[in-house]
């Protein structure tokens, strides 16, 4: 594979809005219900039924647009996108075409190869989802489930500003984080609440023109984004290097084979015959409504990351980990607010808390206040770090007050000099030859003695105090 090529990628991302009801009717959007149980005349496209716009969906779409720095238009127009398919009950999808909800925004993110990148957002519009065609359920027949028909979506179209498959992935992860933060979407690719199509072309490094692109579809998981785009990029490079040229077409990604194949010509080249949706008046948003959405926006991930780094004196990497999700960020701040020292709290959240959550459906099982107490117990010398980890695990699985748990487990450090002196005497008595070597100048044996004291105390000895007692005894 030749070098000297640059990849140009633009992403079209469809995101399911987190509303209770559908875009144009009152049916539930809950995932996983039995087929065709969340339907009504409107989303079934029955004769005579008409769409009623869902205000909650509009609100979420406007928030997404504002978070992406888009211009939200005071007037946008719904349009019909016409095509025939069995899971499209009206024979058209209500979308937006000539006058979308919002245009010209941007999304900044950290790209693996280029550090900070800002990708343009060309447009963001509202539309309804189609139903689902199920091809593998019944032999020789296709089943149609219309539960998803009419679920609200936004489509976010990026400019062709992404320069590698890894960059496309980073863009997508940042977008996902933003939308999850705002409570706009679950962004679960496996459930289809986030779907992405990519426009891919290649050009000689340093060139500025845009060459013929292909559209890559059927990328069903975050794990496949980079793979699918790499496969397509490599295909284009190989094609051009062997004297061929790229034709504009849709490529379907096959994750099992990790390859792409062109969609059959029959399936594409739709003329969607867009025209303004006569069943819906223009969507008019007052400046007051838009301003209200703007002021209701929570702190965005990038701002939160910067603030964490500054306010809690954390490294950028730590701040990024702690702000990766809104839940974790809130948890961390609660731990700090409950009195934990910020860096120690960060270490605990990033290691113990996140590891535990990963094994338990992302649940942060130790309450923030309890974690703050554990941090304090370590700091105050009541618990060793090892003992504290055990307490954490115990509180996570069984709950309870950390100090009580530590006491019950007999993990509270012994800082009583008399008790320590007993363990020290035992250890020194049992290792007379080491004592001799120590006294002859082999002072590095101190850690050996300390380890023995800890073992004798079953980890309960306060290590600092134990060392002091050891030093005293060995000096005498």
């Amino acid at each position: 594979m030749g070098s000297g090529w640059e990849t140009v990628i633009g992403l079209e991302t469809h995101v399911q809005l987190r509303t209770k009801s559908k875009m144009f009717c009152g049916c539930s959007t809950a995932f996983g219900a039995p087929p065709n149980t969340q339907v009504c005349p409107v989303c079934l496209g029955l004769p005579g039924a008409l769409p009623q716009p869902n205000g909650a969906a509009i609100k979420l779409a406007v928030r997404a647009a504002l978070a992406l720095g888009c211009t939200v238009h005071p007037k946008s127009i719904f349009a019909r996108k016409n095509y025939f398919y069995p899971d499209l009950p009206k024979g058209y999808q209500i979308s937006q075409h000539e006058q979308p909800l919002a245009t010209s925004g941007s999304l900044s993110f950290i790209a693996p190869e280029r550090a900070a990148v800002t990708a343009g957002i060309i447009r963001l519009h509202v539309e309804e989802d189609a139903g689902k065609s199920i091809h593998d359920r019944f032999p020789k027949a296709t089943a149609v489930d219309l539960n998803r028909s009419g679920v609200p979506l936004i489509e976010i179209v990026s400019a062709p500003d992404l320069r590698s498959p890894a960059e496309a992935r980073a863009y997508l992860l940042t977008l996902k984080q933003l939308l999850e933060y705002l409570g706009i979407s679950d962004c679960d690719m496996e459930k289809g609440s986030l779907r992405v199509d990519a426009n891919v072309s290649i050009r000689r490094a340093g060139a500025t023109e845009l060459n013929t692109r292909t559209e890559v579809k059927n990328i069903n998981s975050f794990a496949f984004v980079e793979k699918a785009l790499t496969v397509e990029r490599d295909r284009q490079i190989a094609l051009v290097e062997s004297g061929g040229s790229v034709t504009q077409q849709t490529m379907l990604y096959d994750s099992k084979e990790n390859n792409v194949r062109p969609q059959r010509a029959k399936e594409e080249s739709h003329d969607y015959r867009y025209f303004p949706e006569p069943d819906l008046p223009p969507l008019v948003l007052t400046p007051e409504f838009v301003a209200e959405q703007q002021s209701d926006l929570p702190e965005l991930p990038s701002a939160k990351r910067d603030r964490f780094a500054a306010q809690y004196a954390l490294s950028r990497e730590h701040a990024a980990v702690l702000t990766a999700s809104r839940t974790v960020a809130e948890y961390y701040e609660n731990v700090v607010h409950a009195g934990a020292e910020p860096q120690a709290a960060a270490n605990w959240v990033m290691t113990e808390a996140l590891a535990d959550a990963k094994d338990h459906q992302e649940e942060l099982r130790v309450p923030a206040v309890a974690l703050a107490q554990i941090v304090a117990l370590v700091k105050g010398g009541t618990l060793s770090h090892q003992a504290a980890k055990r307490v954490f695990g115990e509180v996570a699985s069984k709950g309870g007050d950390p100090r009580t748990v530590a006491e019950a487990l007999g993990l509270v450090q012994v800082a009583d000099a008399n008790v320590l002196a007993g363990w020290v005497s035992d250890v020194l008595g049992a290792h007379a030859s080491e004592v001799g070597r120590y006294k002859n100048g082999e002072t590095k044996l101190m850690s050996f003695f300390l380890g023995q004291v800890m073992r004798a105390s079953k980890g309960k000895a306060d290590p600092k105090l134990a060392q002091r007692v050891l030093e005293e005894k060995l000096a005498s």
Binding site: P41, G45, P47, G48, Q52, F84, K90, G91, R273, F275
Partner: protein, 455 residues
Amino acid sequence: MSDAKAVADRLMKVKRLNALLTPPKDLRKSLSVQAAAARPTGVLYGMPVAVKDNICTLEFTTSCGSRILEGYRSPYDATAIAKLKAAGALIAGKTNCDEFAMGSSTEHSAYGRVIHPLDKTRVPGGSSGGSAALVGAGVVPAALGSETGGSVRQPASFCGVVGIKPTYGRVSRYGLVAFGSSLDQIGVLGRSVHDAARVLSVISGRDSRDATCEDRDPLRLPTVPESLQGFVVGLPREYFPPELDPAVRRACERAVRLMKEQGAAVREVSLPHTAYAVPTYYVIAPAEASSNLARYDGVRYGPRFDGAADLRTLYRTTRGQGFGPEVRRRILVGTYVLSAGYYDAYYRRAQQMRALIAQDFRNVFDRGVDLLFTPTTPTPAFKAGEKLGDPIAMYLSDIFTVTANLAGLPAMSIPIGQVKGLPIGGQLIGQAFLEDEMIEAAYALERVVPATDEA
């Protein structure tokens, strides 16, 4: 209140008109059930109202005069139907119509043509021909129709009854099977201005299920005015062309004289873009229809014309066999005018022309004219088969009515005379949401026009 059985008997007696699609047995049974359940306090208590077959009802089938919806039962009532029922009215069967309301003669029904109640060789007009024929034959006092380009007023004119098309947004379209969504309105055909107006009043008003329905109270019924003193009636010269049928012209002239005698001031006005209305209509309506009718694909409801090896064949055979020639023609035209490369030349230009046509009306109304008076149709009812082979001639029978749909204005037809036993209709066009003024003028005219005399 009418006795349910008597209504059913009357409906059966005019079976020869082919105006009703509901089987007699179903109708009898349903009417007695409905009569027992009707609200005695409703303002239309016991009033039988026949309903065009493109308006969804829980009772009976809703086939839109089409094979493709043969036997289709709606799982819900249109908002207009729910309001009728709440007012105590009885749904007196579904009336025959041009397939999906596309036609001006009710010859384009998959269930056979409707016969004119006064002359079996003639058409009742369309597309609400079944509703007009039943009211014209005196079987029901009122019936619901629908309009996209004149489908209530034109058959009302042909059958000698009153037909009102309200302002776009006055009556909810929820449950009206869509043809041209930006033009469609449910309208009422009535034996008298009063019968039509009181039904309209009941079905009008806000409905959250239709985003294009205005947030307004139901229409208040006006009282019969003492005179037409203070009314300024405009006569648009484009609606009285030299080739206008002489009998129609004479009937209009007499009606104008009668309005003047009642105190109305009459003025000649001009609506300069009138000539473009029919071509504009025949771009916009088919464009919307091509999209609205996409859902009839044999996948979820309606008959599926089988033997399909694949999806495309299923679509092609179902739609090819399920739709009649006029519907197919309009779907093709509509698909064409929306296609990439043609959209600007046709659909966008038609929308621009539509705006000019609406502006014509505003200009006239802004200059102190309250109402316009015109003939409803260029001729009385024509012969069956006369225009079937010539779609353009058929389309031109809506030449005086399509403008009100394009401009979204209220308009109505009332009988203003007869020629050789065939009724002639006069049209009043009102200002948006001022149906009450238009109905007042109609009351005054109705009171003095001898509808049965030769003009």
